[in-house]
């Protein structure tokens, strides 16, 4: 398995959707390729940093305003 093959398996690897035979090959490649090991680690960190930080916070005030607006529009529709 070369680096390009490894990359093509990365998504399935993260999802745990990889056949035992391929997993064996992926692990074999990783044990001898520092670059791919780093790409794996830092890609995982990329996902984690986005999951762990709410980039777009919605304040309680905005949420209430939105909620009221949504319900008002729906009731208007119902009444129409």
């Amino acid at each position: 398995m070369n680096c390009t093959d490894f990359l093509s398996q990365l998504t399935d690897y993260f999802d745990g959707q990889i056949s035992p035979e391929l997993l064996e090959e992926v692990r074999g490649h990783l044990s001898g390729c520092k670059h791919c090991e780093i790409v794996l680690n830092t890609t995982r960190q990329t996902i984690e940093v986005y999951r762990g930080n709410e980039v777009y916070e919605i304040s309680d005030e905005l949420r209430e305003r939105l909620h009221t607006a949504i319900m008002t529009k729906c009731y208007e529709k119902k009444g129409a």
Binding site: L7, S8, L10, T11, D12, D15, K34, H35, I38, V39, N41, T42, T43, Q45, T46, I47, V49, Y50, R51, G52, N53, E54, V55, Y56, I58, L62, R63, L66, H67, A69, I70, M71, K73, C74, Y75, K77, K78
Partner: protein, 208 residues
């Protein structure tokens, strides 16, 4: 004749009952669905459009459309996936109107590997949260995701930020599973490459 409950039948999602009640005109049931998903829909719209006012409008329009089309909801998919699909369509339409991006379609050309080939091979420092304060970090994350093509941004948002499964993401976007996987890989690699600039380990003597 009632269906025979076989062992191992999947648990019925609580939304199914709420949707049924909402269809019969129960306003409180619909309001509960709105409460459950308004934050998620807002986040999705904000991530795709990168514009707060648009995201507010889209959130309202999404729920209004859902309310009007409740009869058409088949129940083959989760209610939340159905809502996300409406929100994605509204968001992409909004982007097209603004024309701030030259390609605003889920089918945009993704043949090019530009930006998706790893070039930075430095490990990262372990906790970005300890290097940057929350505002700086959010700013970095926002600017970085803004730089992705909308199609990639959308897949990453649904799959990695909102935690939809690959199948749900495919359904919400009208894409095949392999197409979602390919876009997701490129989105993740491009984000990784760009974030490396901020988070990579620094060798001694290098400016911070």
């Amino acid at each position: 004749m009632p269906a025979i409950q076989s062992p191992g039948t999947e648990e019925i999602h609580p939304d199914v009952a709420l949707v049924a009640r909402a269809r019969e005109g129960d306003g409180a049931a619909f309001e509960q669905l709105v409460r459950q998903y308004e934050r998620q829909i807002f986040r999705v719209a904000q991530h795709i459009t990168q514009n707060r006012e648009d995201a507010e409008d889209i959130t309202q329009d999404t729920f209004l459309k859902a309310y009007e089309k409740l009869e058409q909801f088949q129940g083959n998919s989760k209610f939340s996936t159905w809502l996300v699909r409406i929100a994605v369509n509204e968001s992409l339409m909004r982007l097209r109107k603004r024309k701030t991006s030259k390609t605003v379609s889920m089918d945009e050309d993704v043949q090019t590997d530009e930006g998706s080939i790893p070039r930075d091979f430095a490990e990262w420092r372990p906790n970005p949260e300890q290097i940057f304060d929350q505002n700086e970090l959010n700013d970095i994350l926002r600017r970085t995701i803004q730089g992705l093509p909308p199609g990639f941004r959308t897949v990453f948002t649904l799959r990695d930020i909102e935690n939809l499964s690959t199948e749900e993401t495919a359904e919400a976007l009208g894409l095949s599973v392999p197409a979602v996987k390919s876009r997701l890989l490129r989105a993740r690699l491009q984000l990784r490459e760009r974030l490396s600039r901020y988070f990579r380990e620094r060798k001694e003597g290098q400016p911070a």
